[in-house]
Amino acid sequence: MVMMMMMMIPILLVALLAMPAAAGAQTPDAVFANDTLQEIRLSIHSQDLRELRERYAEDVYFPADVQWRGTRVSNVGVRVRGLATRSAVKPGLRIDFDRYVEGQALFGLRSLVLDNVLRDPSLIRERTSMAFIGRMGQPAPRESFGRLYINDVYEGLYVFVEAIDTDFLARTLGDGSGYLFEHKFAGGFYGEYLGDDYEPYKLRFAAHTHRLESDTMLYLPLRDLFYEVNQDVDGVWRDRVSRYIDLPQVVTHVAIETFLAEIDGFLGTAGMANFYLYRPDNVGLHRLLAWDRDTTFQEVDSAIFARVQDNALFRRALAFGDLRALYLDTLAECARVAAADRWLETEIVRAHLLIRDAVYEDAAKPVSNEEYERAIASLVSFARQRPAIVLEAVAAAR
């Protein structure tokens, strides 16, 4: 009897300790926890679901109910999202919890992106890249892997992504009251000056906050930024440009992208892509925020100065010795962080083990299971080789 009681005490203690943890699980962190495979169930009226698939190229919202574990949120808005990854078969989705009910959220999340990662045969580039960016001290959305069911039908493995919004800014930068712009692809844009008219800037930078303010308030600093960027590099270029953008932050952002062999980022092959710009206030400095990293881990031996000359801003920035040194230092730091305790390789393998069964059951993914396995193997190889390749290139460049 005494023995039984002695055994019960630690069990009770563990249970008591676990109780607050369970209560604390009702936060956004729980949705993005990566030790388990998440699961989201959407209920969408059959007619709406048919229309959503038919009109997948449009940003049309449909009402839905969302269930995450035991929590159900009714009357949320769901729409198809993405650019190159738009699909009727496996649609990437955006959930806005407060679309139809003012102030509604899922544990504080007002929006959630369900990324179909169609461009990534391994399905883990996005989540692994964002984890790496966060590890490098840059703001990055929280992400997790999860199964998506719509009307109890398994739609496939998705990456659940924290939306870049004022809540994200408040969490990562301490303040979300500034001006947030999402870069929109509108033909190749390499940072050239687009003229005095605001329209070309509005086309490429969609305002997500302060939408009711005048174009001058929103876009004058952006227009002036690209005007100053495109002046000759002389004694005042850096001072003038530094009035509009945080150049060291841009250099750091691009260095991380370069380490990850990103081909569709700030130095993308088709121009600048997949980032947000944030300006804390109307006279503050713009900074870059990473978005959509499913085309990283490309060529393991890709050059560290690849496409630098294409970009009007970055080409000029690297002409300054301290910024070039920062670029090389950041690349070297990336290599050390990735290699330390084989962090990057471990992340890839861990993610693979977590999602493997769900990927195999995912009939909507555009690759076979064999192609998926080969993609994972390629990523593991990248993680093993890339740090040394980059360190060698950095040493050569110094």
């Binding site: 009226h45 709406d48 009402p63 839905a64 109910d65 009714s74 009357n75 139809y100 009910v101 509604q104």
Partner: protein, 394 residues
């Protein structure tokens, strides 16, 4: 069509001033077998509002708008048939067109296009209204006119009136032109009114009580029954999927003495939403309802030298939402608890019946939105409007 107010007023005064007081309605008679009375009505409105109207042109406007130009005939044929034919010149629309077989007082039959038996205010002639505009519930929730047949009659020494009929659709109030929205199909409607103290010789003798019901089925779509302010601005967009049974119910009461009258009415309209939840299940019915209470006071006698002057006031509400009360209200097209809105309207009016043909009415209207963000002035919950109507009718 818009005419300068002074021109219209001058025309009316000239017309009425030259008419002998005892003049009758223009009429053709063929003994007791045929009677044809000619009718005409012109109404001109001047109105202005702090809020935009349906066409966004009347904000603080003050021009004259000829609201109605109707001509028609009515009368009796072969002793047992009543008939009416009315045409709106402005909209080029037939209005009432019907034949009434009236051989038996207890059972009469009517066929054609006429107002469904539903609503006290809605079934009051436009020339007899105490206010320029009908109540919100009558304009929006009562069915209005449609093509159909009905049986009606008086029983119990005229203490009980009834009318019941079957109609092609659920009335033109719920079927605006140029709309892709859905409305009711074949509609059954019935109205019963009683005057329990009729002939009692007491003040209660004029008491009138009534109830009505109308039922139809609505196909899948967004409802054509819209939430509108007095001047037609939207305060709830009705973008909610409906499908199933549409039921209207109404209650009415009226009492009058020599100088005072009071009247009240309640109308409730529900639309089922079968299979419209996100799980393809049923949602709570969409609900539109409201009531009004009005009172009038005759300042002068009807046959006074200067005509009859009457003061009136009316309070009314018109609300849109759903019957569900649980959960957060939502603007989703598939919400169980719909985020609705309501309009509370206070109208102060004066009517001056110059003679049997000419009537001048002035109304001052205050409207208040429950959810101003859905109304015509999102930053302002309440606003005033005013209207003046000059009516000439024979």
């Amino acid at each position: 069509m818009r005419l300068p107010l002074p021109i219209l007023l001058t025309l009316l005064i000239l017309l009425t001033g030259s008419s002998p007081a005892g003049a009758q309605v223009p009429s053709i008679r063929a003994g007791a077998w045929l009677r044809v009375d000619f009718r005409a009505r012109v109404q001109g409105d001047v109105r202005a509002s702090q809020a935009p109207s349906a066409d966004h042109t009347d904000q603080e406007d003050g021009r004259l708008d000829v609201a109605r130009r109707r001509v028609g005939i009515e009368g009796r044929a072969a002793r047992v048939f009543d008939y009416q034919v009315e045409y709106e010149l402005g909209a080029r629309q037939w209005r009432d067109v019907y034949l009434d077989y009236r051989q038996f007082k207890a059972l009469q039959l009517r066929a054609g296009t006429f107002k469904l038996p539903f609503g006290l205010d809605e079934n009051t002639s436009a020339t007899s209204l105490d206010f320029i505009y009908r109540s919100r519930i009558s304009s929006r929730l009562a069915p209005g006119r449609d093509r159909g047949v009905s049986a009606h009659g008086k029983l119990l020494r005229d203490r009980l009136n009834y009318e019941a009929g079957m109609f092609r659709n659920d009335g033109d109030n719920a079927r605006p032109s140029n709309s892709a929205r859905v409305f009711g199909g074949r509609t059954g409607a019935a109205r019963v009114t009683v005057r329990p103290f009729r002939g009692a010789g007491t003040a209660a003798a004029s008491l009138h009580l009534g109830a009505a019901v109308a039922c139809s089925n609505v196909p899948l779509g967004f409802s054509a029954v819209r939430a509108r302010t007095v001047f037609g601005a939207s305060f709830f967009d009705s973008d909610v999927w409906i499908k199933g049974r549409r039921v209207r119910t109404g209650l009415e009461a009226r009492w009058s003495s020599r100088r005072v009258s009071v009247q009240s009415e309640y109308i409730r309209l529900t639309d089922e939403r079968r299979g419209q939840s996100v799980e393809d299940g049923d949602l709570s019915p969409l609900l539109a309802h409201g009531w009004y209470a009005s009172a009038t006071y005759a300042v002068s006698a009807k046959r006074s030298r200067y005509g009859a002057i009457e003061l009136a006031s009316r309070f009314e509400t018109l609300s849109f939402g759903s019957t569900a009360t649980a959960g957060d209200p939502s603007s989703s097209v598939r919400a169980d608890r719909v985020l609705g809105n309501s309009d509370r309207v206070m109208t102060y009016g004066a009517s001056w019946q110059l003679n049997r043909w000419v009537k001048v009415q002035a109304n001052l209207i205050r409207e208040q939105m429950e959810e101003p963000s859905m109304g015509p002035l999102p930053e302002r919950p309440a606003f005033w409007s005013r209207a003046l109507r000059v009516q000439f009718a024979i």
